[in-house]
């Protein structure tokens, strides 16, 4: 029985952020425990003991429970330091830049991109209302400015923290996949040469390809 458990569903970008980290660190031996927001499984007393905010994912390593996908990703990255891709930077300077771009993803990119995806893809299913076009327009304007900064950065560096792939790049993958492939906002990327090249590179990594298969398999189960 796997001692690692990931609670959630693969439609959640926060869950797939964790799964991609596991794949990048060559960690296969874990169990997915379905917690479906649509059935309210995240509001049961048992689940709230693990994740009191009722959000997914939650994570267990034996009897140690952890939540917040970026914290879980950091834990996996530390615990499996000796295997797979080094994700957190090797020097003090590299670590600082990984942390900086993780915060940019967390504070700037994700809120913006997440709102666009929500409005375009999930508003009807989850909030029972049509897309709020005013919100989409406002967030797209913000995101264009953010992506101009990314383009400038990636013109001089192959990846966000420098010339090495890190957790900072990884953190962007699930939401960007939704933004481009589900919300159909690919133009944001295809119109920016270096940003596009970066996206092509990170999304073709075996770790993400593996997670895409897991997502597809999950969609086929009913």
């Amino acid at each position: 029985m796997a001692s690692l458990k990931v609670y959630g569903k693969t439609y959640s970008t926060n869950v797939t952020r964790v799964l991609t980290t596991l794949a990048e660190k060559n960690v296969d031996d874990y169990q997915m425990v379905p917690i479906d927001l649509l059935t309210g499984a995240n509001k049961t007393p048992e689940y709230l003991k693990l994740q009191p905010f009722g959000q997914i994912p939650a994570f267990q390593d034996g009897d140690f429970t952890l939540y917040e996908s970026r914290a879980i990703a950091r834990y996996i990255s530390d615990k499996y330091e000796g295997q797979g891709t080094a994700l957190s930077g090797n020097t003090e300077r590299e670590k600082a830049l990984v942390n900086q771009w993780l915060e940019v993803e967390s504070q700037n990119y994700n809120p913006c991109a997440g709102k666009i995806v929500f409005e375009c893809v999930f508003a009807q299913i989850l909030a029972g209302r049509p897309t709020d076009e005013a919100v989409v327009k406002e967030q797209l304007e913000k995101l264009e400015k953010i992506l101009d900064v990314y383009e400038a950065r990636l013109t001089h560096h192959k990846y966000l923290a420098g010339d090495f792939f890190s957790l900072a790049d990884l953190a962007h993958i699930p939401v960007t996949n939704n933004l481009i492939n589900v919300a159909k906002k690919g133009e944001l990327f295809s119109s920016r040469k270096h940003l596009n090249a970066w996206w092509e590179d990170i999304s073709s990594r075996p770790s993400w390809q593996k997670v895409l298969q897991i997502i597809q398999a999950g969609q086929q189960q009913k």
Partner: protein, 216 residues
Amino acid sequence: MSITLFGTAGSTCTSLVLTTLFEKQVQDFVLKNVNLAKGEHKKPEYLKLQPFGVIPVLQDGDLTIFESRAIARYVSDKYEGQGTPLLGKTEKERALVNQWLEVESQNYYPVVSSIAYQLVFGPRRGLKPDEKVVEQQLEKFEKILDIYEEHLAKNEYLAGNFFSLADLSHIPYTYLLLHQAKKGEGITSRKHVKAWWDKISSRPSWKQLLDLRAQS
């Protein structure tokens, strides 16, 4: 003197970095004031350091780093051997510090900063508060604080029984909520949250920050 911090003592995000420096007993740095009213943070010289045009940004020799939480981590790592240990000592402690840093970042901060925008930052720019937004955010905040209350009934600090960056990261915005937005009842009405707040906000590092603000 290798460290220069660009920002203002009055800014919540700059305050996080300053308080971390004080907590790590780092006094040997320069604070370079950025004149927000004059739009200094949007000028080309500043954008070379911080391309998103916000404060703070820190320079340490030829390393430039922005995002206050990332800067605070950098300071905590660099000065690991002095001052208060802020990131946890074991793998599990570190994980819990990171968890609560994310809770602050993803749950606490968006709600408190929204209230702060409506009641403090917006009015400074002549905007009228949207009372409906304030009410909605305060409702969300109550639910979040219930979870904090239950957690702090069993743990002295957020990551366990030790003060960490996770607690520290809550201080600047909570202080603003109480003292400028005047919406602190959620904090003061909950026994364990209030005890935690009183403890962390009376630390010498935060007092030093407030003194610096008073002098600025």
